[in-house]
Structures are given as C-alpha cells and as structure tokens.
C-alpha cells in the first residue's frame, strides 16, 4: 500500500473502528440492561454513531458551508417533527 493511499485511508479506518466500538457498547447495553433507563444511554450512543457517519463518512466536515447548512436544517426539521408530535402525546 502506497504512503499516499495509507494517508487517504486514515479517516475511513478510524471511522470504522469508532462505529464498531459504539455498536459494541449498544449491544452490551441491550444484553445486560434490559428495561429501566438504559434507553437514554442507547439513544445517546446511536446519535453519536449517526453524527460520526454524517461528519466523517459523508464528509460533511469538508463540504461547503451551504451544504453543511442544508444538512443541519434537515435535522432541525426532524426535531420539529418529533417535538411537536411528542408534545401532544406526552401531555395528554
């Protein structure tokens, strides 16, 4: 493997190991912490995995500001969807 290619593969390899490690954490939580409030930790780990994919696999960190803005606004829409829906259901 050429040094140039090795340099190019650094971020994908780190991303791979980070995602597999976080998946391992979630699997362990799923096995040993059934019920209770484990869902908070599991949700946090899943959100971290999603953020890693967006930032490093989809390379949002390298994109133009307008593309990053679009990506961020998309998730704001999702938060509005979840927020407005759940405000209704949890306050009934």
């Amino acid at each position: 493997m050429s040094p140039e290619l090795r340099q190019h593969l650094r971020t994908p390899v780190l991303t791979l190991f980070a995602l597999l490690a976080l998946l391992g954490v979630n699997v362990l939580l799923g096995i040993f912490f059934i019920g209770g409030h484990a869902w908070i930790a599991e949700g946090f780990v899943a959100a971290t995995m999603v953020a890693i994919v967006i930032m490093f696999a989809m390379e949002a960190v390298k994109d133009a500001p307008i593309t990053r803005l679009f990506a961020a606004i998309g998730f704001v829409w999702v938060l509005i969807l979840f927020g407005l829906t759940m405000v209704d259901y949890v306050t009934r």
Binding site: E4, H8, E42, F82, T85
Partner: protein
C-alpha cells in the same frame, strides 16, 4: 487529487468546483427528503412506545436482536469499503475502486439475505399479523399489531433503498470498467457513496428504534 481524475464540465457551470458542489448539494437535498420520510416512521415508533409500552416491549422481545446487530456491523463494514472506493477514485485507481464497489454491493446482498432469514423466522414464529390466514402469536394484545406492522414497513422500506443502492453500485462498477471513466465522472462515485452512507445511517437509527430501545 490525481491528474488522471476529473469531471467533464457541463455548460451551465462556471467551473468544475461549482459543478462538484452543486451535485453534492443536490444529493444532500434529496437525502433530507428521504430522512423526513423515515422520520415519520421513527416518530410513529416513539408514539407507540409512549401509548402502548407493554405491547411494544412484547414485540421487541420477539425481534431477532442478534440479526439486527450483525446487520448493523455488516452495513458499517460496507460503508467503510465504499469510503475506500471513494479514496481510490480520488487517486485515479479505477480498477481497485470498481472492485471495492462490488465488495460494497456484496455486503449489501449479505444484509438482505440475513434480513430475509429474519423475515422467515418471523413467519415461522407467527409474528406476521398482516397475514390473515396465519395465527398471530400475540393475538391477545391488539396494540402489538401496530408495532409489528411498523417493524415490517420500516425494515421493508429500508430494504427497498438498499436494493436501489446495490443496483447503483453494480451500474457504477460496470461504468467504471470503461477506460477513462474517472477522468470524466469521478464525482459520480462521491455522489453514489453519499447515498450508500445514508442507507447505513438510516439503519443506525432503525436498529435502536425497533430492536434496542424497547427491550
């Protein structure tokens, strides 16, 4: 980026960089509409969990947790191979790039095979409430049907996206078998990669939403 790599400039763009950014922005816009499509299903899962927690837990304990976890790992590895393909495309190494895309597609097929086995187990274990001719395992719990059906709709919709992704990989690998592909169309690999990573991202939300959080 290697000198053997480039993009054929379309007349409506000022320069290649503008064309590259426009393609990325367009793909992100499309992916965000897809995200909102799946978000409707995710918020439904959350509502069902709030309204019928015991029924949702009963279904979640029937789901094949290990198949879901294995499939997550498979998609993470497939995403890594896609990232390698993108890096190889930037270096102008067309042949190994095409092999990586075929490898990505192969992992996608492996995912679908495991998913198919999981559906078969669900069928055998009478967890298919939408089949009127089959007895439903949780027949005394009507609310559980909602979550079970949601599981099939969500994973089925994801599988449809994965099949599209596999098809794109195969088409791109075929196109990349032609001499000089990367000199004119390198950004197509980047755009296809964005779609594949997005399929991975959606599954990273599907797995905890259906299999994990409700156990």
């Amino acid at each position: 980026m290697s000198s053997t790599v480039g993009i054929e400039l379309e007349e409506q763009y000022h320069d290649v960089e503008q064309q590259r950014e426009a393609a990325k922005l367009g793909m992100w816009t499309f992916l965000l509409t897809e995200l909102l499509l799946f978000s409707g299903l995710f918020v439904t899962a959350l509502v069902l969990r709030v309204m019928h927690p015991d029924s949702v837990t009963a279904v979640a304990l029937h789901l094949k947790f290990w198949i879901g976890a294995t499939n997550t790992a498979i998609l993470i590895v497939s995403s890594f191979i896609m990232s390698v393909a993108i890096e190889l495309s930037r270096l102008g190494r067309q042949r190994p790039m095409a092999w990586c895309m075929l490898g990505t597609a192969a992992f996608g097929v492996l995912f679908l095979m495991l998913k198919g086995y999981e559906y078969y187990r669900d069928y055998v274990e009478h967890m298919t409430p939408f089949l009127s001719f089959r007895r439903y395992e949780l027949v005394g719990d009507p609310a559980s049907r909602l979550f079970t059906n949601l599981y099939f709709i969500t994973t089925g919709l994801h599988a449809v996206h994965l099949i599209i992704g596999i098809t794109l990989m195969l088409v791109m690998a075929w196109l990349a078998s032609r001499e000089g592909f990367l000199q004119k169309h390198q950004n197509r690999i980047e755009i296809t990669g964005l779609y594949w990573h997005f399929i991975d991202l959606i599954w990273m939300i599907v797995f905890p939403t259906l299999y994990l959080l409700n156990r």
